[in-house]
Symmetry: C2
Subunit: 245 residues, 2 copies
């Protein structure tokens, strides 16, 4: 074990923050470190928008849930998958970009996620905490309007960061022997592991310091996955120029 | 600055490895730490397949490029976006999973990438190095056959890990003031920044210790993005049960 692994293990979402600003230099340090993440063939297909405008924050907070922390966190970032810069590179060299490939959508989305995870790690290493905000996909059209996000770019998720004013428990993850398989995808033995995990998560939900409740992982997932999820996303993504072909 | 940020900054892809095995306990430590990454609504929609079988490694190495390091690295992992476990959770609770939503595709792909980036960080903190293998998407059907990957699961990328037998330079990333924007997406000033970055990358390519060449970032990107990229991916992804609706 080492300090880095301990840092990873300590991760939990933080939604309450001290009223202590994060200075520009720290933001820059975090993002520059985050950019060192792997990137598919060097394309670096992402853009991060730091949202400072209070009215915009308020509206994004509202449409994301509401999730008040989007309004209140010292730092709010919107991570976008971005092919527009690559289109510009093509223009500079008088070439035409091939557009709309599912593959490009995957590459840009993955690149964005890798940078975002590094952002979280870098921030946590500096004593900050935070939470990803998938809720911006509730109304991605409006988010694009508010932030002038053009075609060939889409907001994947937001992230709130700040000095924690809360210290919640870490949430138990799936047993490693469910998610790590050897040589082939097999679900042998998973039934029992899921039962065991349901006991673990039930105990977690019953005993946690805030919002305790009766629930299990499979119960929570069954509830969520049996409902339609943001059905507008396919049309939205295609309209933005991604995943058409 | 701190040790974690220094670790992130030192990242570069490693493709040559010492012939020194990574023991099971270390693999487990790495994956367990990686699992602590954020996950959208707790869904943990990923599975990692550790590929040990030499013949399978050889074939994946071939179809990925060829990329010999897939065959030779002490550890080769395939990261899959996985909705199948969630389908199981629905069955346990006698519910029917809503399938094929673009949103689910995004969530599962992002979850997988977050865990993978944590895997890389955890591995690097233990003295290992590695490289992502997007090349498995050259022939995802065959990868699924080889690893028995069922519907509702797709292999997003692979990852080679091991003790480095090489010490390449880090690759200069885009200037932070191109990727980090304030309050709105704007390309003002980016023209000059790209020119500056082209000089930086040209210098990097000219002077690096192996495979030096004349190139720039925009030149490289224009070349790559003006070609069709894995055009089979849309049909493949839809066929696997993702992004249909």
């Amino acid at each position: 074990m080492n300090h880095v692994i301990e840092l990873l293990q300590k991760h939990r979402s933080i939604r309450k923050f001290q009223q202590k600003a994060i200075n520009e230099e720290m933001v820059r340090t975090i993002i520059e470190a985050a950019q060192c993440a792997s990137t598919s063939n060097y394309i670096q297909a992402y853009t991060v928008i730091q949202v400072c405008d209070a009215a915009v924050r308020k509206e994004i907070a509202e449409l994301s849930g509401p999730q008040l922390w989007v309004e209140q966190s010292p730092l709010f970032l919107v991570f976008c998958a971005d092919l527009k810069r690559l289109d510009r590179a093509c223009s500079i060299h008088e070439k035409k970009m091939e557009k709309g490939y599912a593959e490009q959508f995957i590459i840009a989305t993955v690149d964005t996620a890798l940078v975002a995870q590094n952002t979280m790690i870098a921030a946590e290493s500096l004593g900050l905490g935070g939470v990803f905000i998938g809720g911006i996909r509730n109304n991605p059209d409006r988010v694009c309007e508010l932030l002038d996000i053009p075609d060939d770019v889409y907001p994947v998720f937001g992230m709130c960061l700040g000095y924690p004013a809360d210290d919640p428990e870490t949430k138990p993850r799936l047993p490693v022997n469910i998610v790590l398989k050897k040589d082939r995808y097999s679900t042998e033995g998973d039934e029992q592991r899921l039962e065991e995990y349901d006991r673990t998560t039930s105990e977690y939900y019953n005993n946690r310091s805030t919002c305790s409740r009766d629930d299990t992982w499979t119960g929570q997932m069954a509830e969520m996955m049996s409902k339609v999820m943001r059905p507008h996303m396919k049309e939205y993504i295609n309209g933005k120029g991604f995943f058409v072909t």
